[in-house]
């Protein structure tokens, strides 16, 4: 693979409009495909990233189209690192209700971060009141077979 040794970073900024998630996904998947990453892994990353960006739009920026969501996608031979930053009030991930608790099973929402942690290898959430939230999630890639 030609990109094997030099990490590349791709950047996208979108306004907080729910329908823009389609554009975010297309941008992400196109760049991962260009880097020769397997479809199986691409869909895991895409699921996780759409969760994170939906949260940034809905919760962080509360759907205010004046507020932006920034995404960096860094692809190296070893991993794909995603960083999503919003302009919201930050939040405490420890305070999120357990989506596996019996009484929460029929809730329509509340599984996003849980799924991100399951699909990605490392996830860090940095919410600073007044400065927004940055979520960083990394997916390790299998060693190249060629």
């Amino acid at each position: 693979m030609s990109t094997a040794n030099s990490p590349k970073t791709y950047r996208l900024t979108v306004p907080s409009i729910p329908d823009r998630i389609t554009q975010v996904d297309e941008f992400l998947e196109a760049n991962l495909q260009k880097a020769g990453i397997a479809d199986e892994i691409i869909s895991d990353i895409a699921i996780a990233v759409t969760e994170i960006v939906n949260n940034a739009i809905d919760h962080g920026n509360a759907g205010d189209p004046e507020k932006m969501v920034k995404m960096n996608v860094t692809i190296s031979a070893e991993e794909v690192a995603i960083e999503v930053t919003d302009e919201g009030g930050g939040f405490d991930p420890g305070a999120v209700a357990d989506p596996l608790a019996e009484e929460n099973l029929l809730r329509e929402v509340g599984r996003g971060i849980f799924i991100v942690r399951h699909l990605m290898d490392t996830v860090s959430i940095n919410g600073v009141p007044g400065k927004g939230t940055t979520v960083r999630a990394v997916k390790k890639l299998p060693p190249a077979t060629s």
């Binding site: 729910p18 329908d19 823009r20 998630i21 389609t22 996904d25 869909s43 895409a46 699921i47 996780a48 759409t50 969760e51 939906n54 989506p99 596996l100 099973l105 029929l106 809730r107 329509e108 929402v109 509340g110 599984r111 996003g112 849980f114 799924i115 399951h118």
Partner: protein, 111 residues
């Protein structure tokens, strides 16, 4: 996501296709379920064979369909759950909530 629907043996079958990732998807699916309820079609199958993947928005839509139909004395079944979606249902414990079948035929028979 693209959405079509058909009817078979008195059962309404919803056929989403593509990726269910949020944005416009939730409204589309939810409106169609409400349309069914209005028309008295209360046995509904969601055929997932054409869905590449979904995130928690998709799971939320499935739950909304399930509870809305139950509140109206109807029932929702899933059919042709792909491996990727099955794994999401498993880790979120939603396997215990949904009635999933390997084919449309089996899902129809299960009502």
């Amino acid at each position: 996501m693209k959405l079509s629907h058909r009817e078979e043996a008195g059962v309404a079958i919803l056929e989403p296709r593509g990726k269910i990732m949020g944005g416009p998807d939730a409204t589309l699916l939810h409106d169609q379920l409400h349309e069914f309820i209005k028309e008295g079609k209360l046995k509904v199958i969601i055929d997932l064979s054409g869905v590449d993947w979904m995130n928690s928005t998709g799971l939320g839509i499935l739950i909304s369909g399930l509870t809305t139909l139950r509140n109206n004395k109807g029932e929702l079944k899933l059919a042709n759950v792909t491996e990727k979606i099955q794994s999401l249902l498993t880790i979120t414990k939603l396997v215990t909530v949904f009635d999933a079948h390997d084919s449309i035929d089996e899902a129809i028979k299960s009502f």
